[in-house]
C-alpha cells in the first residue's frame, strides 16, 4: 500500500496573536507545528501500513521552515517526505495549492491512498483535499471518523456530519480527509526522532513537476485574502424562556414574530 499524507504547517494554536492595530496574525517567532488533523491522517496511514505493509510518504508545500513539520511526521514513523518549495508556489490559494500537490502525487506514482486532515486550523477551508481528489479524478471521502478495508482495493468509510453519519465505500485509489475522532496520534519516540534525520526529505520546485505555470502561486490563484481580523466579541442579549415547554414555544414564537 503506497500512502501519501498531505500535511500543512500551522502556527501553534496557543502562540497565535493578532496585531491589534493591523488585525493581522503575528507570524514572527511563532512556533510552527503539524496541523492537528493532519497528525490524525499520519496516524491512520501508519496504522494501515502496520496492518498491510507498504510505504508512507509525507507531502507538503511551503517554505524551508516546513521541514521541521515534515521531520516531526518522519519521527512519528513515516518513511520519507517531499516538500514542494519555490517562490513560484508562494501566495497560492486552495486551488493553486491543490493543483501542484496533485501533480506531485502523479509524479510519485502508484499511490493507492491520499490522506489529509479534514481542514487546517489556521485557514479552516477544508478545500485542498477535495481539489486534489478532483484533479486526480479519484473518489473522495471527507470528514472520515472510521476507516476500514473491505478488501485490498475497497475502503469503507464512515463520515461524521452535523447530526448525522454517512457510510460510503470507495474503490482505490482514493482521497480521504480524516476527523480527529478517527484515532489518537502516536507520540514521536526517542528512537524515531533520531532515525527521522536519516530519512530523506526531497525538495521539489516547479521545475520538477509537470505544471501549467499559470495555475500556480499567487498569479494562479482566483481568490485572494483581503483582510484577516479577529471577530469582535459583542455581548449578546439572552432571554430565559419559561420551564413549561408549551409556554416557552409561545414566548419564542412571539419573539421571532416581533
Amino acid at each position: 500500500m503506497k500512502i501519501v499524507v498531505c500535511i500543512k504547517q500551522v502556527p501553534k494554536s496557543d502562540s497565535v496573536k493578532i496585531d491589534p492595530k493591523t488585525n493581522n496574525m503575528v507570524r514572527d517567532n511563532v512556533e510552527g507545528v503539524i496541523n492537528p488533523f493532519d497528525k490524525n491522517a499520519i496516524e491512520e496511514a501508519l496504522r494501515i501500513k502496520d496492518q498491510l505493509g507498504g510505504e508512507v510518504i509525507l507531502l507538503s508545500m511551503g517554505p524551508d521552515g516546513y521541514m521541521s513539520s515534515l521531520r516531526d511526521g518522519l519521527a512519528m514513523g513515516a518513511d520519507r517526505a517531499i516538500l514542494l518549495s519555490s517562490r513560484a508556489f508562494g501566495g497560492a490559494d486552495t486551488l493553486a495549492t491543490g493543483y501542484p500537490i496533485s501533480q506531485a502525487i502523479k509524479k510519485i506514482g502508484g499511490v493507492d491512498l491520499v490522506l489529509l486532515g479534514r481542514q487546517s486550523v489556521d485557514a479552516d477551508t477544508g478545500q485542498v483535499g477535495p481539489i486534489v481528489a478532483e484533479y486526480l479524478n479519484v473518489p473522495q471521502v471527507t470528514f472520515a471518523e472510521e476507516l476500514r478495508f473491505v478488501d485490498e482495493h475497497t475502503l469503507y468509510g464512515q463520515r461524521l456530519l452535523d447530526g448525522a453519519t454517512q457510510s460510503v465505500q470507495v474503490t482505490l485509489p482514493a482521497v480521504v480527509m480524516v476527523r480527529s475522532e478517527l484515532n489518537t496520534p502516536r507520540y514521536e519516540t526517542p528512537v524515531n526522532i533520531q532515525t527521522s534525520f536519516e530519512k530523506p526529505i526531497d525538495v521539489w520546485t516547479e521545475h520538477d513537476l509537470d505544471l501549467d505555470a499559470t495555475r500556480i502561486g499567487q498569479a494562479g490563484s482566483p481568490t485572494t485574502v483581503q483582510k484577516v481580523y479577529a471577530p469582535k466579541r459583542e455581548g449578546r442579549q439572552t432571554v430565559q424562556l419559561s420551564d413549561d415547554s408549551a409556554t416557552a414555544v409561545k414566548e419564542l414564537l412571539a419573539r421571532i414574530r416581533n
Partner: protein, 373 residues
C-alpha cells in the same frame, strides 16, 4: 551535525513534555495517594521508548547525550517526579554497564534495555553511605561467581528485572555483578512505604547462592567502590534535574495562585512578602538547572563532574524542600491542604536529601575537595 543534535534534542524535549502533560501530570495526585503507578502506566513509558533515551544506537536505543536526557528528566519531573526518578535509576545503571561492562554482557543485556528496567543496588541494612560494611558475598566457583546477600532500598526494586549488585569477594575486595531476576536463587523482598516519591518502587532483593557467569562482573575485582561512586555521580546529575522540575512545579503553583488570590483588593503577587518568596523559588530553580546542566556538560566532555553533580543534588534537594515550604506559605491554608500538590512535592523533594548519598555526605565530599585542592 551539531545543529541536527540540537534539533533532535528539541524534538525529544517536546515529546517528553507532551507525554508528561497528557499521561503523567493528570495522574500525579493519584500516584501519590495510591503509592504506586496505575496499571498500564509504566507499560506506556516503555511503549513510547522512554527507556531508550541514553541507550546507544547500536543497542537499539536513541543515544541522546546525557545533558539532553537530563533536561528530559527535568521536564518529566514537572508533571510527576516519581516517574522521573524511576528513569533516573534506570539510566544511571545503564551508564555503568556501558562504561564497565564486558562486550558479551553488553550485547546480551543492553539490547533488552528498551523494555527491561535496570537498577543499581548497593545499600544494605548496615547502612547506605557505608559501602565497606556490606555483607553480600561473591565467591568464585570455576568461571562463575556465587552471590549471596540482601540489598534494600533499591530504586526500582521490584520493578527492575536486572540489578547491578555491590558485593565483597572472599579476600574482601569490592566488586559489582549483574544479576538477573530470572536467575535461580533470586527473589524480591518487601517494598518500602516511603512518605514521598510514592510512585517510584523502592524495594529489597534477596540473593540466595545465585550463580552468575564470570562475564557478569563489571570492570575488575576491586573496582566496586569506584563503580558505585560513579553510579552515584551519574544519578546526582539526574536528581538535580528532577529537583529542578519539582521547583518549577512549585513555582507554577505559587505564581498561578498569587495571580488569582487577592488580599483585600490587592492581588497577592503585588505584595512584597509574596514577591520575595516567588523570586527565591525562581532563583533556586534556575541555580539548580545551571548546576545539573554544568555537571552534565562536564560529563559529556570527559571532565571531572563528581563535585558539581554533588552540588546539584545537595543544593537542589535542600532548595526544593525550602521552596516547597515557601510555595505552601503563598497558598496558606490551601497549601497546607492535600487538595493542592505542594505538600507532596515537599515530601518528594525530601527523599533527595537522602537518596544517592545524604546531603551531609555531600557536604563532606564538597568541603574536603575544596580543602584538598
Amino acid at each position: 551535525m551539531e545543529n541536527q543534535e540540537k534539533m533532535a534534542a528539541s524534538m525529544l524535549h517536546r515529546m517528553v513534555r507532551e507525554f508528561t502533560e497528557n499521561e503523567l501530570a493528570p495522574l500525579d495526585m493519584e500516584i501519590d495517594a495510591q503509592g504506586d503507578y496505575p496499571q498500564g502506566l509504566f507499560q506506556k513509558v516503555i511503549d513510547n521508548g522512554l527507556l531508550t533515551m541514553t541507550l546507544p544506537r547500536e543497542y537499539g536505543g536513541a543515544g541522546f547525550s546525557y545533558d539532553s536526557v537530563a533536561k528530559a528528566i527535568h521536564l518529566m519531573a514537572i508533571g510527576n517526579a516519581s516517574m522521573a526518578v524511576t528513569l533516573e535509576g534506570h539510566f544511571k545503571t545503564l551508564e555503568q554497564l556501558l562504561k564497565y561492562g564486558d562486550q558479551r554482557l553488553k550485547d546480551e543485556y543492553l539490547t533488552s534495555a528498551a523494555h527491561r528496567i535496570f537498577a543499581f543496588s548497593q545499600t544494605e541494612s548496615s547502612g547506605g553511605s557505608n559501602p565497606r560494611g556490606i555483607a553480600t558475598r561473591a565467591v568464585k566457583s570455576g568461571d562463575d561467581w556465587i552471590i549471596t546477600g540482601d540489598k534494600i532500598m533499591i530504586t526500582n526494586g521490584g520493578l527492575a528485572q536486572v540489578y547491578c549488585v555491590l558485593a565483597k569477594t572472599e579476600d574482601d575486595q569490592m566488586a559489582v555483578f549483574v544479576v538477573d531476576q530470572d536467575m535461580p536463587g533470586f527473589s524480591f523482598g518487601k517494598r518500602e512505604d516511603f512518605i514521598g516519591l510514592r510512585g517510584t518502587p523502592v524495594g529489597e532483593i534477596v540473593m540466595d547462592h545465585i550463580k552468575v557467569p564470570g562475564y557478569h562482573l563489571l570492570g575488575q575485582i576491586g573496582q566496586g567502590l569506584e563503580i558505585g561512586n560513579n553510579a552515584h555521580d551519574d544519578a546526582r546529575i539526574l536528581m538535580g534535574a528532577v529537583l529542578t522540575g519539582i521547583m518549577e512545579h512549585e513555582l507554577q503553583i505559587a505564581v498561578d495562585y498569587s495571580k488569582q488570590r487577592k488580599a483585600l483588593d490587592t492581588p497577592l503577587y503585588e505584595l512584597q512578602t509574596i514577591q520575595e518568596k516567588i523570586s527565591e523559588i525562581a532563583i533556586a530553580r534556575q541555580n539548580t538547572e545551571l548546576l545539573y546542566q554544568h555537571a552534565a556538560q562536564l560529563k559529556i566532555t570527559g571532565q571531572s563532574y563528581a563535585q558539581v553533580a554533588a552540588m546539584a543534588k545537595s543544593y537542589g534537594s535542600r532548595a526544593a524542600v525550602r521552596c516547597g515550604d515557601m510555595a505552601l506559605q503563598v497558598l496558606a491554608g490551601y497549601g497546607y491542604s492535600r487538595e493542592y500538590p505542594i505538600e507532596h512535592l515537599i515530601r518528594d523533594a525530601r527523599a533527595m536529601e537522602i537518596a544517592e548519598g545524604t546531603v551531609e555526605r555531600m557536604s563532606g565530599e564538597i568541603a574536603l575537595k575544596q580543602v584538598n585542592q
